[in-house]
Symmetry: C2
Subunit: 435 residues, 2 copies
């Protein structure tokens, strides 16, 4: 087999953890596999490097949307280019250390950094897109019997300048290399056991999911599951890469993320999860959204376009949108935005005169959004009916609803968020069997 | 002018120092110069990285000859390759930070790491030799009006693997780039003012030397002056690069290291140093050597070859060698080695039977070597006579003497080392004028 293993920052957090990764690499190679490894920077290293850059240029506070990457007036392409040259060193360090540790344990390994990987990207520094992978060097190292340890998160543009793929980019590096090499599996080794039906800190009976389709994982990732970078899942789907999210601390199986047709087969293989019981893969709670209602606006073409156009131009992403039925050519429009964006949204909207009128706004931060994700949601009516019944039994009022092929979301008052999450988790058969 | 500036580790030790370097770079560029900069790793960073590598592979203690680079059974080409991939990140970090700081101060800069520099080396990891410099990228960045900040100490081999040039290699990077680009001057910016006539901690009246020939600097560097890597001086001599060793903390002139014919001219320009007074550029004291005498060995061909051949094979470098006149076809041979090598030298020699006889050894650690360096030493007899007169006046017995075009060294008892240094410094007119 050709195996790709990706070790995240917590898996290479210190020298002891690096030694443990090396043991696992040597065992995987000795079992007869060709092994390509992708590593993140040692935990904390990326922030240390970015911290130096930020302290140096004395710029404005970090832009939430791009994580700790800097923003502000002083930003420029030149600055972003240097940031990438700087930050990419973190993965080079951990790759070289892991290769040494494998050598120390009697294995043979070689580390490859951005310019050696053959991963070409565009020139969008700090969030580059992969344009091409030339796998020649990796293949020749594999043929010579080496474990190939690749620095994640980075590539080079056509000119040889280092680019990075954005936060969590090592997942994308891993999946992209797995696709280019035709790896049999892309293992994402992390500090959790796999993907869970929901956050176990809120729902103690949350259960590890054995198999999940790409689309379900995409939805869960967009709802805040941090186990995989969204972009890497989209990449895996596009190229049909079998992704195995599993623990770096033990050998037990985790969650396979595979094409939908394989999900049912994998689930069927496991006696504990009878096929027909599974409609829903997970439920998620988000508390960081806020609700905005535009009260009594003219229901004419162009108004809604002006509103959402202005929000988009201001960098405010809108999540759920709900428009009530029109009465007398007037209507209410309700939508949700990230709570962090509420202030800018309000500023933008109070400056608008769609149809010549000022807008009347009502905002509410005290909301929670609960989403139910699953391939089974194709039978919408049944799922929605079940969800509403459960929430009504708990006396929870539903403020907003939205539906898609793979997801149903409801907005409730913030104080009922956890209750609703637990009730829906139970109702859709996701609870782990009691012991 | 095309100026090359090299900033050492203490000049980029922290963000404040990096800002100060950036100010100097911007001022140099704004004065109308094209500027190429070479930086070392931030002070302590190289040792931090090597420390991790050493802790990881649990090898034997460091090999003194190669500084903190590892040695021992576990070493291999693969390991050395990874060490270079690892350690070279230190200079990448400081180069990117300096480029950012220049940008923050309104300048334009680009950092170039090993694979972007166009510096090709052989594949001797950890101590690679430069084979070629392709300056195309640097020139095009200069044409676009940027300060080019190069990561020192590193290049790539033909395959694109990162190589490093050995401890202090950033000096060599700087001189090599200055040679390839035809820079008007290669400024080595450091935490001292220039090259001194001797160690000012021992001789308070030591004086900064305004100009010095490559050969004198080579001799002083081999005697322990740490201001420049020996190899970089040899490189500068070969390509006629004008090197200016000066402080990174102020704008005052330092020491120009230039061809011999220019030295006299530069010295003549300075009223304080009349031409005829200068025969000697510096004196140096070394206390880390030991003396070995082979007593009463057969004076036949082959004996001396066997002795020094065996020492060379064991990695022991011999410094001064003195063979007494032969009596009855027997002689004494005395030589010096680094004190750290004395034990291995003794072990090697006691195992030899040159001419079928065991060797009788006498060793002495309590020695000091004082060397006088200068172009003026071409008139040997006069200099030697002066030196012996001075030492005799101090009642210091001379144990060994050696002479070359540029250097005369004497070995005395350790307890007279500093006295002899001070007396010779005065006798050769090196003392700074009293104030």
């Amino acid at each position: 087999m050709l195996v790709l293993q990706k070790y995240g920052g917590s898996s290479v957090a210190d020298l002891d953890r690096i030694r443990a990764c090396a043991d696992r690499c040597v065992a995987t190679a000795e079992a007869g596999n060709d092994l390509v490894v992708v590593v993140s920077a040692m935990k904390g290293e990326t922030n240390r490097l970015i911290g130096m850059a930020n302290a140096l240029v004395e710029h404005a506070p970090a832009d939430a949307d791009r994580g700790p990457y800097v923003t502000a007036a002083k930003r420029s392409v030149d600055h972003d280019r240097e940031l990438d040259q700087l930050v990419a060193t973190g993965e080079k360090v951990s790759a070289a250390l892991l290769a040494m540790a494998i050598g120390d344990r009697g294995g043979r390994a070689v580390s490859l950094a951005g310019h050696q990987l053959g991963m070409t990207t565009d020139r969008t520094f700090t969030r580059a897109k992969i344009t091409d992978i030339s796998e020649q060097r990796i293949r020749s190292e594999l043929e010579e019997g080496r474990v190939v340890v690749c620095a994640g998160f980075q590539g080079t543009d056509a000119r040889g300048d280092i680019t990075t793929l954005g936060r969590g980019g090592s997942d994308t590096s891993a999946v992209a290399l797995a696709a280019a090499l035709g790896a049999d599996v892309c293992e994402i080794l992390t500090d959790v056991d796999g993907v869970y039906t929901t956050d176990p800190r809120i729902v103690p009976r949350a259960r590890k999911v054995l198999a999940m389709s790409y689309d379900e994982m995409l939805e869960l990732a967009s709802l805040g599951a941090k186990v995989l970078q969204i972009r890497s899942v989209a990449f895996a789907k596009k190229y049909g890469v079998r992704v195995h999210v599993r623990s770096s601390l033990h050998e037990g199986p985790g969650t396979m993320i595979v094409p939908a047709d394989e999900v049912a087969r994998l689930r069927g293989q496991n006696g504990k999860q009878p096929m027909e019981a599974i409609e829903v893969s997970g439920v998620a709670l988000q508390r960081d959204e806020a609700k905005v209602t535009l009260v009594d606006v003219p229901d004419v073409p162009g108004v809604i376009a002006e509103v959402f156009g202005a929000l988009g131009s201001a960098g405010v992403s809108v999540d759920m949108i709900l428009q009530n039925a029109s009465r007398n050519d007037r209507t209410d429009i309700t939508f949700t935005v990230a709570e962090a964006d509420l202030e800018s949204a309000t500023t933008v909207l109070t400056g608008l005169r769609p149809g010549g009128e000022e807008l009347t706004l009502a905002t509410d931060r005290a909301i929670a959004k609960i989403s139910v994700v699953g391939l089974g949601l194709r039978s919408h009516a049944e799922v929605a009916a079940k969800a509403f019944g459960v929430l009504a039994a708990d006396n929870v009022n539903v403020q907003m609803v939205s539906n898609s092929e793979l997801k149903m979301s409801v907005v409730v008052h913030e104080r009922y968020g956890e209750l609703a999450l637990r009730s829906l988790h139970t109702a859709f058969g996701l609870d782990a069997p009691s012991r």
